[in-house]
Symmetry: C2
């Protein structure tokens, strides 16, 4: 079947409506004929279903591919993803978020599309703001949002991105004690054996330095300080105000306040959050801890990112892979004022 390459579309005649659209749901009927996107046309050409002419000259696959690559940004990426989805048996339509994908066994006209697929090269930066907007748009119309990332060797990895509101099951965020602590060089120590033991064994805060003294991280310290549980002094005995603590902690760690917002949100929502250093993330998070001797499996790894963050996709990929390899969910806590919003990103098979 002969078709014509015109700008960034391929136009087919009336017979294509019956042969390609009605049987395979390729293209969109227009003015009595059928309009194909460049990826649809390349796919049909590679399967010998259509011939493509440009100004009267027949294009072979290579010629059409080079033309299409010149006429549409990300053409190669889109072709790789489209072809992969077709070969998995999905019906796929071009859309604003690159592709709409129909549920298995369904097709356009039978039911609505279920998935929005957004195509990216591993080299592209992904703005978390745009990602949040895309996920929200998809969730508003009850669609699943999938990122299809094409790596430099043209391998494909699919990520599902969804909003999350994790809830923990801890009944109290901290035990009712009151004790003194010292801000040393970059950590805080509580000295009283009884209060230290209670904070450690009942509140799951810090780490015992020895049988009597408790070492607290900066976020733990500010959280307990802001709730009146500890009084923090410097090494010469002077008590800190909230602002002085924040200022000193921020000098030690530039993103202290952002990290604190996430820590506070996690503790306030009934979780126990501990450092995720061993996993390269800010926190590992437990929904419920009953005994400090028997720490359960932590459910989430949480990375805190600013609202204007741009993901480098290899970094995101590594974080998700690590979380999944230790059977945890990878959650990004996106700063929004003094609160955070959560994005849950996981690798999925299509």
């Amino acid at each position: 079947m002969k078709t014509q390459l015109k700008e960034d579309r391929v136009l087919a005649g009336k017979e294509a409506v019956a042969e390609l659209y009605k049987t395979g749901y390729f293209g969109r009927p227009r003015d009595g004929g059928l309009e194909l996107s460049l990826v649809e046309a390349a796919y049909l050409q590679s399967r010998g279903k259509i011939d493509i002419e440009l100004e009267g000259k027949l294009l072979d696959f290579r010629e059409f591919f080079e033309q299409a690559s010149l006429r549409q940004q990300n053409f190669e990426l889109k072709y790789i993803v489209y072809k992969d989805l077709k070969e998995r048996g999905y019906y796929v339509q071009p859309s604003a978020a690159d592709f709409r994908v129909y549920p298995r066994g369904s097709h356009p006209g039978k039911s609505a599309a279920k998935i929005f697929v957004h195509v990216l090269s591993e080299r592209q930066l992904l703005s978390v703001k745009l990602l949040q907007e895309s996920v929200e748009s998809a969730e508003n119309v009850h669609k699943q949002f999938i990122l299809a990332v094409v790596d430099e060797e043209s391998d494909l990895t699919f990520y599902e991105v969804k909003s999350a509101s994790p809830k923990g099951e801890m009944s109290e965020p901290f035990p009712a004690v009151k004790t003194n602590a010292t801000f040393l060089e970059d950590r805080v120590i509580a000295w009283d054996a009884e209060a230290s033991g209670t904070l450690y064994a009942r509140g799951f805060y810090g780490k015992m330095l020895d049988s009597e003294r408790l070492q607290l991280s900066l976020v733990e310290s500010l959280y307990l300080f802001s709730r009146g549980i500890i009084i923090v002094r410097d090494r010469k005995g002077k008590a800190f105000s909230f602002d002085e603590f924040v200022e000193k902690a921020s000098r030690i760690e530039g993103s202290f306040l952002r990290k604190f917002s996430a820590y506070k949100a996690l503790r306030d929502s009934g979780h126990v959050a501990k450092t995720g250093f061993k996993f390269g993330t800010h926190f590992r998070v437990y929904r419920k801890v009953e005994s400090i001797e028997k720490l359960p499996h932590s459910e989430y790894l949480v990375n805190v990112i600013p609202g204007d963050h741009e993901f480098r996709l290899p970094v995101m990929s590594g974080a998700v892979r690590l979380a999944n390899s230790v059977r945890k969910r990878m959650i990004f806590a996106v700063e929004k004022g003094e609160e955070v919003e959560y994005l849950d990103i996981s690798r999925v098979k299509m």
Copy 2:
């Protein structure tokens, strides 16, 4: 036993030489008495072995700890590491690289120290240049070099760092073919079915776009181009020179040349290197591939870093953890001119 805090040392009398040095190898004999470092003194005080006075006043543990923290940078970190090593049964001596550690069952005077331990907070940046120098110094005197990283919750993770010269077992780095390829938007496609098949199935290059065409990554393309295996043209048919290719690839990926140096070194030394995107690294590396259908387990993950790189330790921790969780070695290829030097970093239990 009474001791005196003087500047950043604690001084004990003659009896300490017999009681602390000769039985436990604490301190260094000086002028008839014993000189203890601050961490040694804090450890001995916490075990009730010594009393510490400052200008005639007896200090309790908290008072001494606050004093020590004011007098020595990283005191808390060093104390955490020292105490941990002592409790594991090691004899430990202060040294230029923080600590020298004696083999199990040995002690100062019996044999030489076996391990140099360098202490870091997770918040400190680690210069790869200094790291390379430290590892070289240690290896020159046949010592193991260990990083002890204290995270914000005072948990300890030990990393062994060593130089590496990985060797692969591939007999030829590429098959002897010659074919045409097109540089599309950000990848290269070879069009000839036979050459494509040979490069893919015998050289383990690229990924088949379909049964005839081969997609190559930018580093693969330049490697094959520089060896005369492929001729690369733009989408309008103009052939690239080596420099034009490098210029275009570098516009697409800022660190292209650095990555190419490592790719070239790995291929030249008999490895097959493929993208490590799914692991968040530049490459995953096979020592030997016999069949593209049955790719074996890849042995290394390789990240390429500039010579003046500064590691953020949580990022390094995540990379090592991920590599270890999929039973691979984590290797950093450090750019040095047009060559690379390798550092192998792994988590170890002490």
